[in-house]
């Protein structure tokens, strides 16, 4: 127990952060769990209904659709993230320093770009109308005659692209750092043995960074199963009836839909709780696998 004289210090330095996290993180989370056991709707009148929301979830035919969509979305974006991230990392470490640096900076841009701007830009480029950039360009070159309905005919690919552009930067940075810290001796030895660059990449570089690859996969899976912002901004779950509606988006719509009176907080909360459970299970698994707890050092001062 720290001495009394240090209490003001602890209150200020740790207390405030703790208070904010308690108030705006812990309490909302607990509240959500509670609401999931009620039938609260737009009128904010509620009754305790136990696990009925969850039962409804199990029997709702749309539930499977949402789960499948989430799986497709996660798998697709993850593949994009990891493959493109890896590609960019390998490419940027094999060209000149300046070029590599610029390349990584450019592909970091989507991450820092405001989501609405990126959404608008991609919607315009891939617009199904003939004024869309891609359509105009392809028509100008002569490849196509009529405009292609990119976002309506290829909704998943579109979503993979836009989310991937934002997400690949994490892998790109982590892999770049990992590649740069591979002892050059390995590469030199392989070259001396006559291995081609492709051989070196496949046989030495990728295996040596597999822990990092694993980490990126784990980390991004966790965030992707709950990701929905770009889907909301671009296709809003469409085209049509829930084609690309993922679990998180479905929950969001259920609570904050356009039509205020359709709000069903109880059901939405139940969906969120399921998501929380999935996230918790994944987090605990990753914690054990990556042994994230090690490496926490003790302070030197005991006063």
């Amino acid at each position: 127990m720290p001495p009394l004289r240090d209490m003001p210090f602890i209150l200020l330095f740790i207390g405030i952060s703790t208070a904010i996290i308690l108030l705006f993180l812990l309490i909302p989370a607990v509240l959500t769990i509670f609401i999931s056991t009620t039938n609260m709707d737009y009128s904010l009148k509620w009754q305790f209904i136990g696990l009925r929301n969850y039962q409804a979830l199990l029997t709702d035919p749309l539930t499977i659709r949402f789960l499948t969509n989430t799986a497709i979305f996660t798998a697709g974006v993850l593949s994009f993230n990891v493959l493109v991230g890896l590609f960019l990392a390998i490419l940027s470490t094999h060209v000149s320093e300046l070029l590599g640096y610029t390349l990584r900076a450019v592909y970091l841009l989507p991450r820092v770009t405001p989501s609405v701007v990126l959404a608008f830009t991609m919607l315009w480029i891939f617009s199904p109308t003939e004024s869309g950039v891609l359509n105009s360009l392809l028509r100008y070159i002569g490849i196509i005659k009529n405009p292609v309905a990119w976002t309506t005919d290829f909704p998943w690919q579109f979503l993979f692209l836009i989310n991937g552009l934002v997400g690949c930067s994490l892998g790109m940075l982590i892999f770049t750092s990992a590649i740069k810290s591979i002892p050059p001796d390995y590469i030199v030895a392989a070259r001396v043995d006559g291995a081609s660059t492709l051989r070196i990449i496949a046989g030495i570089i990728v295996p040596m960074i597999r822990n990092h690859i694993g980490f990126v996969i784990a980390y991004q899976t966790l965030s992707l199963i709950a990701s929905f912002e770009y889907i909301l901004l671009t296709l809003d779950g469409g085209p049509g009836y829930y084609t690309t509606e993922v679990w998180a988006l479905a929950a969001y719509h259920r609570a904050f839909s356009q039509y205020f009176i359709a709000a069903d907080y109880g059901y939405a909360a139940a969906m969120v709780v399921i998501l929380m459970l999935a996230a918790a299970i994944l987090t605990i698994t990753y914690w054990k696998i990556f042994r994230l707890g090690s490496g926490i050092t003790e302070p030197k001062l005991e006063v």
Binding site: R5, K300, L301, E302, V303
Partner: protein, 361 residues
């Protein structure tokens, strides 16, 4: 100016790492006490406990009979000097020295006065506007000293402050430090692993090994009357000779089956001490107390293994047999031509030890 008393001081880290074990030590007022020992012997841990940075697991610390265990470092009025100088890199030299005074809320004029005075004393008054990164190692160390002195502390605690300096500067500052301490009369505890430094600076030296105190004495006493084999081999720029002998029931000494003549008085002392016989003993004799003669004149005969030239004097390494090389420190060179040499021990200066403790004067 305080007297510091350490009473059964113990520090255990975690569950079972015993860094300091039942340390009893008195540091007299105005004394320059050196804590000497190899890495990991607990000297820095002890220093940090005196500073209040570590809390003792057991035992007490007294400043002038006042119990200090729960007193914060900032209330102990100590000046501390670190091996890495620990100067605040973003502040000027002046601000570095003034920092503790500003904390104490001394009036501005007083601060300026003290800083200038101390800076002059340490000959860094022309550097007051510089930043630490612009100074040499020696200069930085002086600033660190100045910062410690300016607060007019009751105690100086120094943790290997000269270890990062070049050998020549180290020797210069060593002399200045000793002189400074005498002038200021502030109780000083100095930690080092360098026995030469300890011997030249200390009023008394406390030698530690694996968390325990081996011996505390003046440098002379430490050199001539080491209380244990550890102290004997640790002290002395040229390592002492440690000779293993077996003494049998008839009080005859054998060095690896060859009999060695040991003076009667020593044998008597061994018998009187009550040690059991037969037993293994260690004879400690310093290289300067070993003389070289022609092979016939003594029963310890060996080959000259190598010769060290130390400027004025030489150290001969004489190999008696595989396990025993005796070092002889002398200024005579006349044995170059013969390779076989006889070694004579000045028994008056020799000490005899059991596996651990000392036996005879």
């Amino acid at each position: 100016m305080v007297e510091i008393v350490l009473e059964k001081l113990t520090k255990i880290f975690g569950k079972n790492v015993i860094a300091v074990r039942d340390l009893d030590l008195v540091i007299k007022d105005k004394e320059f006490m050196v804590l000497l020992g190899p890495s990991g012997c607990g000297k820095t841990t002890t220093l940090y406990m005196i500073a209040g940075i570590y809390k003792p697991t057991r035992g007490n610390i007294y400043f002038d009979s006042k119990l200090m265990n729960d007193v914060e470092p900032k209330d102990r009025n100590i000046g501390m000097v670190f091996q890495s100088y620990a100067l605040y890199p973003h502040m000027s030299v002046f601000d570095n020295i003034a920092y503790p005074l500003k904390i104490k809320k001394l009036p501005k004029q007083e601060i300026v006065k003290r800083v200038r005075y101390v800076a002059e004393m340490l000959k860094i008054d022309h550097l007051l506007d510089r930043k630490p990164s612009q100074l040499s190692g020696g200069q930085q160390q002086r600033v660190a000293l100045a910062r410690a002195i300016a607060k007019h502390p009751d105690v100086f605690l120094m943790d290997e402050p000269l270890s990062n300096l070049d050998a020549k500067i180290r020797v210069e500052i060593r002399a200045e430090l000793k002189n400074l301490q005498k002038r200021l009369g502030i109780t000083t505890i100095y930690v080092t692993h360098d026995q030469a430094e300890a011997m030249s600076l200390a009023d008394r030296v406390a030698i530690m090994n694996s968390g325990s105190l081996e011996q505390v004495a003046t440098p002379e006493e430490l050199y001539s009357k080491p209380a244990s084999l550890f102290v004997a081999s640790f002290i002395g720029s040229v390592p002492a000779n440690i000779i293993r002998v077996e003494i049998d029931e008839d009080y005859k000494a054998f060095l690896r089956d060859r009999e060695v003549a040991i003076p009667r008085e020593l044998i008597e002392a061994i018998r009187v001490s009550g040690s059991k016989i037969p037993e293994i003993f260690y004879i400690m004799v310093r290289p300067e107390d070993v003389s070289l003669h022609s092979p016939g004149e003594s029963d310890l005969v060996g080959e000259i293994f190598s010769i060290e030239y130390l400027g004025k004097d030489l150290v001969y390494h004489i190999k008696i047999h595989e396990d025993l090389t005796i070092r002889a420190y002398t200024s005579r060179e006349n044995l170059l031509n013969s390779s076989k040499v006889g070694v004579k021990i000045n028994w008056k200066k020799a000490k005899i030890y059991r596996e651990d403790g000392k036996l005879i004067v």
